[in-house]
Symmetry: C2
Subunit: 318 residues, 2 copies
């Protein structure tokens, strides 16, 4: 189960190890986007993404003898880095299964934390993680389809309602749905009138399409600049939570992800990875309509990106 | 005269037009630098630098019939952008005299605000501004040697003591001394025990050398990555204030400016121009010694830099 109590317990559990990220108002961005902009910069989080919150909550909740068997995780990179951090903290072995298309900076970050990295095709990452779990007895730390993971990510929601009491709207990137399930549960239980918007890659609108169909749909595998949001179906445990708490889903094209990354960097002066800029991209694309006095908190979920990616922004017009 | 009252008056005067920038704690940077790091990101200020504060205070303080004659300013770029903004707001003509070595992004930013730009040799910028002032009757808005300018920049100090009541140390970049004179006057009058550190380019240590000599010295013109801090002698009105309130001066080499810019961007996730990263560079260079529990506020004075500059960071090791 995921509820406000499990999120409050997660907060206590992980507080000593994570950073409480600030809320950064950006009037520069606000003038361009036509609303009041507040950034929750999880790109500045330890390991440079929010994923450390869920990974720590999960692994600190497990019985000690269980976690000592070692852990394995399928990940596009950020969850793997979070799991590798938690494993290092607990002194246990971690194996991370990551697609061969993942940015090198993510692979390096995981290795630097002492975890073993196995690279494979995008579609095989969960299969290989399951195999390793069965073969070696490693605990499989799922990136989103897990209530402890969701509770950890939900601690961001607790921070938002404390730091920005009069927030109107929270915009959250969606992959499998772990982040938005946690945040929406926390925010809605404290401030029920806040609107939660989920932003997905345009060619991977698994939540929008599932809700339209009335059940979880499985999309075909797709490439996207949103390398952290490539999941092709909503998580089984995430879907009911997300579908009941999220007001609006927007689909953002790759072109607008990169425009948003450039805008956030050059005008907002904050560096984030493309996936994390998706909410800003939704406004630039005209998908998300906003009001001038609307206080919008953008969850900028990660910042594991390098100068190689920034160079790609040079020719892009905002 | 510069004192806390003139800075408080400046705050009232410019408040409707500037952004109150946040204080951003950076635990990621803190772990690397060995202290508690807080960034005052004037790179996120309107016009992307603090200079708008002084320019607005000066021009809003002037008699209307005087300012209507038009203004001229010698500037490495950021002051020019501030003056251009204030001139646009007041509906008066502005002419900015800027070195031909200034980054293109600064020239473009000034032109976009509707000011006329004259480019010249670095050493001639003040001479030409004076000539234009005499020839056309324009008011010359000096970038630092002016009490109203200093009072405007000092509003940053008021914000720091309000936002970070237990700050131990404030590290401020020094060019002519307008920013540090204003900030140190404001901070010291509210929190007399706070240590103020001034950071200058290593080959342009005009304050450190002047204080050693017991009088203002004039250095030879120099090139530096710190394009906003190229002044070769302390301002006449700034020097007595700075020499009495600043505890320590550090000289930072170009190499460490770029390392600091890369560190702030890749680990702190904040984009600033090289000049503004000088305080962080002082720690990396081993020039500024810090304690683990010391709360240090780095005034990151501007962010007028482009992807061309970020590309130069690629080969640099931190």
């Amino acid at each position: 189960m995921l509820n406000i109590d499990s999120i409050l317990m997660a907060q206590k559990r992980i507080e000593p190890y994570i950073y409480k990220t600030p809320i950064i108002p950006s009037q520069n961005l606000g003038e361009i986007l036509g609303c009041e902009v507040f950034i929750k910069p999880e790109c500045m989080q330890r390991t440079n993404s929010f994923k450390i919150r869920g990974a720590l909550n999960k692994m600190l909740s497990m019985p000690k003898d269980e976690v000592q068997r070692g852990v394995v995780a399928a990940s596009s990179g950020n969850h793997g880095k979070g799991v590798a951090f938690a494993a290092k903290l607990l002194g246990v072995k971690a194996t991370i299964v990551i697609p061969d298309t993942a940015p090198q900076i993510k692979v390096d970050g995981i290795k630097d934390l002492g975890a073993e990295v196995i690279q494979c095709k995008l579609s095989e990452r969960h299969i290989i993680a399951n195999e390793l779990s069965e073969k070696y007895g490693y605990i499989n730390i799922h990136p989103y389809n897990d209530y402890d993971i969701m509770a950890g990510q939900g601690t961001i929601g607790l921070e938002i309602v404390e730091q920005l009491k009069d927030v109107d709207t929270v915009v959250v990137p969606i992959g499998g749905g772990g982040l938005i399930a946690g945040i929406s549960t926390a925010v809605k239980s404290k401030l029920p009138d806040v609107k939660i918007v989920g932003a997905e890659p345009y060619n991977l609108r698994r939540y929008a399409k599932s809700i339209e169909a009335g059940e979880r749909v499985q999309l075909e595998e797709q490439k996207s600049e949103a390398d952290a949001l490539l999941t092709s179906t909503p998580g089984e445990k995430n879907y009911p939570i997300v579908s009941s708490l999220v007001s609006e889903f927007v689909g953002v094209k790759d072109e607008y992800l990169l425009k948003a990354m450039k805008l956030l960097l050059m005008e907002g002066k904050i560096l984030a990875e493309p996936s994390s800029c998706i909410g800003i991209g939704a406004i630039l694309q005209g998908e998300l309509k906003v009001k001038r006095d609307e206080k919008i908190c953008f969850v900028v979920s990660g910042g594991n990106t390098g100068i190689d990616k920034i160079k790609e922004l040079e020719g892009i017009s905002i």
